[in-house]
């Protein structure tokens, strides 16, 4: 019984310590996602040409290895 309580308490403490970090990471990820989407929407041509170039390079490298 005591052991269970201890485990529960440790888990609660761990959760309380980790939760703010998880929230912060989520907030940062969300902010990064918004920035990326905004950039893509503002510069569609640049992004698409860049993406095609990246794909082309990956294809070339894959072709050379294969």
């Amino acid at each position: 019984m005591e052991m269970t309580e201890k485990i529960e308490e440790t888990a609660r403490e761990l959760g309380a310590r980790v939760r703010p970090q998880i929230e912060e990471a989520r907030r940062r990820f969300s902010s990064f996602n918004d920035t990326a989407i905004g950039y893509i929407k503002e510069n569609p041509g640049k992004c698409l040409v860049g993406a095609v170039a990246v794909g082309f390079l990956i294809g070339k490298i894959a072709g050379r290895r294969g």
Binding site: I40, P44, V49, A51, V54, R65
Partner: protein
Amino acid sequence: METQPDNPPNGRAPAGDGTKKLGKRIERVGHTAEQVWDRTRDSVTDLGEALDIKGRVDRHPYGTVAAAIGIGYVLGGGLFTPLTGRIVRLGLRIGMRLAVLPMLKQEVAELIETIEDEEVGKSKKANANKGR
């Protein structure tokens, strides 16, 4: 004898005439290049409007970028490579899991329900027998 710039001897063209012709030719080439540039720009604009690239990017920004990467990959000659095989296999595996898992869950749930119903039926029968 006086030299006349307009009528040089032996039918040769006057000195300034060549420069004039060259200038005209350059002008013509410049004009043609301008026309070609305008036409190309119009074609690109028409293609962009036909494909509705702006709208597509607004609706699915990541999807459009992924599609562009795919187009580049194919253009780069990466289609018939072991990497493509690996990617396809991975995609199939994930797809199968995503498709099969809910089906399995449903089957297991139905099985449990059937077993529970059977047990309830058995206990009812047992109770009825005891009552007799």
